[in-house]
């Protein structure tokens, strides 16, 4: 019972963290171009910044 008192809030906290992170990725439009994201990982050089 004591273990539960610790573990349940812990599980909740971690799960909530993941949910918040997911909502952040959704809000920053990371799912808008799934096809492009698949190839973008192959672009090895950063474009020179000006």
């Amino acid at each position: 019972m004591n273990a539960l008192m610790l573990l349940i809030p812990l599980a909740l906290f971690l799960g909530g963290l993941a949910l918040a992170f997911f909502l952040y990725t959704l809000r920053s439009r990371q799912y808008d171009d799934l096809d492009g994201a698949a190839s973008r990982i192959l672009f090895d050089d950063e474009r020179p910044r000006r």
Binding site: G16, L19, L23, D32, A38, S39, P48
Partner: protein, 753 residues
């Protein structure tokens, strides 16, 4: 362009997208579209057609990013949207658009239709709901599994677990179920029960029953079932939505290519770009070289104009229009710029008339009811009737309390959850559409896949579909290699189809400077002449003597230089080598092919014989084509129409399923359900086989769901189902259905013999 390290990319791009086509000048003025961001910065959004692979994205972003003052160049591969930001005047937009065109893409203004297709608020809401439902379901399941496993659990601990599950489940059901509740409410107000209503009822009833069970401190609650059901159904919704969104984007992209501006000559002599809709009859517009004529008009001035009317009439050779002649919209100016007095505003013009014809045809084609909707229509009432009967049976006949009677009734409802229906078909469609996309087959309407699978008759247009629709130099003429090189260097100055064919035949010849073009006749430089026999002053006899055999004079070019006998180059509209094989494979799939062309009988017969088509009709106008399709439909056939011209558009819209190559006219592409990238028919038989396999798998999945329910429902009705059993049934059936759907992408072995 060199110096960006792009050579390797070109190799990859050419491999991925076929050939790089140099495109004409942009057909629209981009500068007015640039948005002022303040501080002298501007932003431009474009739809970039031809953006088909990761390497294209890289190339585009690199090339634009290396332009001075560009602060942001970001391309979206899914929607083909390009966002460009730069510091400097708005006028640079045109420069960027030209650069994009030079790289081989087709830029177009980012139209509101594109925006609507991409800015899919509903999709984002669904994904958010899925995330929340997934989170809720996982946590509820965690607690529930503890209850199921802990047989020695104390009563107080179990109660705590149930309350915890309720704590998670109530907000999850409330928030993540919103898309379904909204849909159900919309359906109710419209007076028809929908799938959403069934889902909402199931989820809300299960939750309510579980709350009551928690308060009663019963052995089991069903919160896990309700949340897992929501999560699984949302997966199906998201998949379905993604497939539709892709189709909508393809359609919106095609529409955007049609838009553009025309150059209006104002009373004060200035030339201003305006949208075609803004031009009234009687005003004058300037048509630049290479520009598409967007409005009907009468040619003004002294010079004759050379127009490529392949898109509107199907003629493969340019037409020479003398001053004063009516020029239809849709032609491409191959010669000098000319002035046109507009005779009809855009909405009354010939293009609009064709578009209206198209709309009528679209309306006439009965929408096929999608397989999943048909199944849902049968399925939902039965499930609800069974559930209600279970409740009444236990309560009235079984003699238990109404709360206890609710448990088996809701168990029946949740065990027969329409997961099979909700996931089975969309998953198959997403996998199949993805596999087709990778082969260059673009589905432009959501139900194209189902209709493609049903096709049993193929109607093919000749020009641009079976043949390449452009003349190619015939080998083995009388011309020597240096004649060809000289002719090709002269031909670089002209956009005439025969001149371009010469360039293709000898691409390395340096482009000659100082070439004078005599429209309709030929080219001249320092006494060297390239053109028709008439231009070179050759009589018909001399022409016959030089050209071995009777060549079509319209498909022959002559080269004359001082001190040499004239040399002839002969051209023909060639049939790709694999055409006969494609027709044979269509036949093997049970599709009888027929040829329907606007060309004359001899040309059509020759193509039909070469490609192995027995049934052909020549000299068919747009009405004849549409009538032939309508006749086939009346006979109960399901014709597949392949065509690329404006004259095919009505027939395309009437056909059960229609296909256009991507080099087709915009109108034909808009009318088509399916667009073939690379313009090759070779992908078509494979696409049909894949569509059929997808249909078979979707049916298997539906059948599988049915069998599952036949076993599970009696168990639930008998009151034997517990939440662990329901969870196992739900998860395993969904998994099996999804795994089965994944096989839709692996049709290569049988589709590509």
């Amino acid at each position: 362009m060199r110096g960006l390290g792009l050579d390797a990319v070109y190799a990859r791009m050419t491999a991925a997208a076929g050939t790089l086509r140099p495109q004409g000048p942009p057909a629209f003025a981009a500068a007015p579209l640039a948005r002022d961001l303040g501080n002298g910065a501007h932003e431009l959004e474009l739809m970039v057609s031809g953006l088909t692979c990761g390497a294209c994205v890289w190339l585009l972003e690199q090339a634009l990013g290396n332009e001075p003052d560009v602060t942001r160049a970001r391309a979206n591969l899914s929607s083909r949207r390009l966002t460009l930001r730069w510091r400097g005047p708005a006028g640079r937009a045109d420069e960027f658009v030209r650069l994009i065109a030079r790289l081989g893409f087709r830029p177009a203004p980012w139209s509101p239709a594109c925006l609507r297709a991409e800015e899919d608020a509903e999709q984002r809401e669904l994904v958010r709901a899925l995330g929340i439902a997934g989170f809720g379901a996982m946590n509820v399941m965690l607690v529930s599994v503890a209850v199921w496993a802990g047989s020695d659990m104390g009563e107080a601990t179990r109660a705590l677990m149930h309350w915890l599950a309720m704590l998670f489940a109530l907000p999850t059901v409330l928030v993540a179920g919103m898309p379904f509740y909204k849909g159900a409410w919309r359906g109710l107000r419209a007076g028809r029960p929908t799938m959403d209503l069934a889902v909402s009822l199931g989820v809300l009833l299960t939750t309510a029953m579980s709350v009551s069970e928690t308060l009663r401190n019963a052995d089991y609650t069903w919160f896990d079932g309700a949340t897992a059901l929501l999560a699984l159904l949302l997966v199906g919704r998201v998949l379905d939505r993604a497939a539709r969104r892709r189709a909508r984007q393809a359609a919106a992209g095609l529409l955007a290519l049609q838009e553009g501006t025309v150059t209006r000559l104002e009373a004060d002599g200035a030339a201003r770009p305006v949208p075609p809709e803004a031009v009234a009859a009687g005003e004058r517009i300037l048509v630049a070289a290479g520009e598409t004529v967007r409005l009907d008009g009468v040619l003004e001035g002294e010079e004759e104009a050379v127009l490529d009317l392949a898109a509107t009439t199907g003629e493969s050779l340019p037409r020479h229009c003398p001053p004063g002649e009516a020029v239809p919209a849709g032609g491409v100016n191959l010669g000098q710029p000319f002035t046109l007095r507009v005779t009809a505003a855009a909405k009354d013009g010939s293009l609009a008339a064709t578009a209206r014809l198209l709309e009528r045809a679209e309306g006439a084609r009965g929408r096929t009811v999608a397989l999943a909707d048909r199944a849902a229509g049968l399925y939902v009432p039965v499930v609800h009737a069974v559930s209600l009967a279970t409740f009444l049976g236990w309560w009235l006949l079984g003699g238990v309390t109404w709360q206890a009677a609710l448990v088996p009734a809701v168990a029946a409802l949740i065990i027969t959850c329409p997961c099979g229906l909700a996931i089975a078909v969309p998953a198959v469609q997403v996998v199949a559409a993805g596999a087709l996309f990778r082969r260059g087959v673009l589905l432009a309407s959501p139900d194209a896949l189902e209709r493609l699978a049903q096709a049993d008759h193929a109607v093919l247009d000749k020009t641009g579909t079976l043949t390449e629709g452009r003349p190619e130099l015939l080998p083995g003429g009388a011309a020597a290699a240096d004649d060809l090189a000289l002719a090709a260097s002269l031909a670089a100055a002209s956009r005439h189809p025969l001149a371009r064919a010469l360039r293709r035949a000898c691409p390395d010849a340096p482009a000659a400077t100082g070439v004078r073009e005599h429209p309709g006749l030929g080219l001249e430089r320092d006494g060297v002449r390239l053109g028709s026999a008439r231009f070179l002053g050759l009589g018909p006899d001399a022409a016959d003597g030089a050209a071995s055999g009777a060549a079509d004079p319209a498909l022959t070019l002559w080269l004359a230089r001082p001190g040499h006998a004239p040399v002839a180059f002969r051209f023909a509209d060639r049939l790709p080598a694999d055409t006969a094989a494609v027709v044979a494979r269509l036949g093997a799939l049970g599709l009888e092919s027929e040829l329907l062309s606007g060309d004359g009988a001899p040309a059509v017969r020759a193509v039909a014989e070469a490609s192995g088509i027995r049934d052909w009709r020549a000299a068919a106008g747009p009405e004849d084509k549409a009538a032939r399709i309508a006749a086939l439909v009346a006979l109960g056939r399901r014709p597949l129409m392949v065509g690329d011209g404006v004259n095919d558009a009505a027939a395309l819209a009437l056909a059960h399923v229609s296909v256009a190559p991507d080099g087709a006219t915009d109108l034909a592409q808009t009318a088509a359900d399916i667009v073939l990238r690379g313009g090759r028919l070779a992908a078509l038989p494979g696409a049909i086989a894949l569509a059929r396999r997808a249909r078979r798998l979707a049916r298997q999945n539906l059948g599988f769901s049915l069998v599952y329910n036949l076993v599970a429902v009696p168990v639930a009705v008998a009151g034997l189902a517990t939440p662990p059993i329901a969870a196992a049934v739900m998860a395993s059936s969904s998994l099996i259905v999804i795994l089965n759907a994944l096989r839709a992408g692996h049709a290569d072995a049988e589709a590509m013999p």
